[in-house]
């Protein structure tokens, strides 16, 4: 269903500053449609910033970000900041899932998912709720629609958050460390839902520390360090034959930390 309409995203020479600090340095990246692109790299390397420039939760300072061939963030390259209503239209096509879930605590699971369908897509409540139920069923939470977030486990909350995003029928999905706030035993259920989305042909950009997920589900892995893309390639290239020394040392550190867990 999503496969024909899946969007691509393209970053060209994107720069982002926080005051004097440069968080993204001339980043260029093509995100192919219907594929899973995983972003890995040390903390503070700019992964979240890159992701948030794609839906302009952070406005990049220069360069170009496109969804398919449409520029987002500015009216024209180097031009005026895009009008707010135009940006909102484009954001409907871009789903986002956050590390902290960011569910709305005063609403039930169903209301969390139906809210955007009503307010943004303008559906009548019964129709919005019917679609919200479908989305909840898809993430395996049909029986939890009346629960408020505080009465759901972390894994369930994140699945509701995914349902909230996919109910809007986005053409590309951004995930910012979707399992980092979860207890280890709850990680699997969220990754399971993400794999299912990937199998349906959704374009996905996933910032993750789950190297297992990146190795098995990603079509491409992108390694960032200090605001730059240092290496990209297939999971096999990146994980088995890291040519870049910084990537090799990052992976080495990861392996050591994770074998110490035993």
């Amino acid at each position: 269903m999503t496969s024909q309409t899946a969007a691509s995203a393209h970053l060209r020479n994107v720069n982002k500053f926080y005051g004097p600090f440069q968080a993204l340095k001339d980043v260029s990246l093509d995100i192919p449609p219907g594929k899973v692109t995983c972003l890995i790299g040390p903390s503070g390397s700019g992964k979240s910033t890159l992701l948030r420039c794609i839906n302009v939760l952070e406005l990049y300072d220069s360069g170009e970000v496109r969804i398919d061939d449409q520029l987002i963030g500015y009216d024209s390259p180097g031009g005026k900041v895009m009008a707010a209503n135009r940006l909102r239209e484009m954001r409907r096509e871009i789903g986002m899932v956050f590390q902290q879930f960011n569910l709305w605590p005063h609403m039930t699971a169903l209301q969390n998912v139906a809210e955007g369908l009503e307010r943004v897509r303008g559906l009548k409540r019964p129709e919005a709720q019917a679609r919200a139920r479908e989305a909840l069923a898809k993430v395996g939470l049909a029986d939890k629609e009346d629960n408020h977030p505080s009465h759901l486990s972390g894994g369930q909350q994140q699945r509701v958050a995914i349902a909230r995003a996919i109910a809007m029928e986005p053409r590309i999905m951004l995930f910012d460390e979707p399992t980092s706030a979860l207890d280890p035993e709850l990680v699997g259920e969220v990754l399971g839902v993400m794999k299912q989305l990937a199998a349906e042909g959704m374009t996905m950009v996933v910032v993750t520390h789950e190297m297992g997920f990146a190795a098995h589900v990603a079509d491409r892995v992108v390694f960032m360090e200090r605001g730059e893309i240092v290496a990209t390639g297939s999971p096999r290239d990146v994980f088995n034959n890291p040519t870049d020394p910084r990537l090799a040392s990052f992976l080495q550190g990861y392996r050591e930390r994770n074998s110490l867990d035993f």
Binding site: W104, E115, A161
Partner: protein, 215 residues
């Protein structure tokens, strides 16, 4: 001798005057909450001139005694050609003043809401007005509920000041009855009792609402 008889005889009249206290408090509270939300939105706006207006508004209505505001509304508005009945002027002024305090309560509560709440709404393309009304305000009202209840109780008590523009609410009525009956102790005790009951009801309603909002 303490005279229960005086209290019993005058209680209905006193209670009757409580309708003005209630009217001014309830309408002032509704006006204060709506306007307070607007002022708060302005205070958090990214437009500098909106923030300036909000800041000026709050300093003025918090800085000038309500009594002066009431007198100003009552005597000055007609001078500039606006003729409003005393009751309307009183409700308006009390609400304007309450808005200043309530906007600050809301602003404090909003700061306690994680930034991700509004981001999640923005990410699905929700318009700022909806983010405000559907996502932020309900949470701010819940967080600020104890402080809001506090402001409402202050409002009920402050409503006694509207006597200066000639409205005969509980306080004014008890003054006249006390003067007529020479029984100030009994009458003021009765008035105090009515205020107390009103405020206990508000406090209880606040607690019940708080419990209902806790999920």
């Amino acid at each position: 001798m303490f005279s229960f008889q005086t209290i019993v005889e005058n209680f209905p009249v006193l209670l009757g005057s409580a309708r003005y206290t209630l009217l001014i408090s309830v309408l002032g509270c509704i006006e204060g909450l709506i306007l307070g939300a607007v002022i708060c939105a302005a205070a958090l706006s990214n437009k500098r001139w909106m923030r300036r207006i909000a800041a000026l508004y709050v300093s003025f209505f918090r800085g000038v005694p309500l009594l002066i505001q009431l007198l100003a509304a009552y005597y000055l508005l007609p001078v500039i050609g606006i003729n409003v009945p005393a009751l309307a002027a009183a409700v308006l002024t009390v609400g304007l003043c309450a808005a200043a305090y309530l906007s600050e309560v809301l602003r404090g509560s909003l700061n306690a809401i994680p930034q991700g709440q509004a981001e999640a709404a923005a990410a699905i393309g929700m318009a700022p007005r909806d983010v405000w009304i559907r996502i932020l305000l309900p949470q701010a009202l819940k967080i600020g509920l104890p402080a809001i209840v506090n402001e409402l109780i202050l409002l009920v008590k402050a409503s006694s000041l509207v006597t200066v523009v000639g409205i005969v609410e509980i306080t004014r009525m008890s003054q006249s009855i006390a003067a007529a009956t020479y029984r100030p102790l009994e009458i003021y005790l009765a008035a105090a009792f009515i205020y107390l009951v009103i405020n206990l009801v508000i406090a209880q309603a606040g607690r019940m609402l708080e419990r209902r909002l806790t999920v």
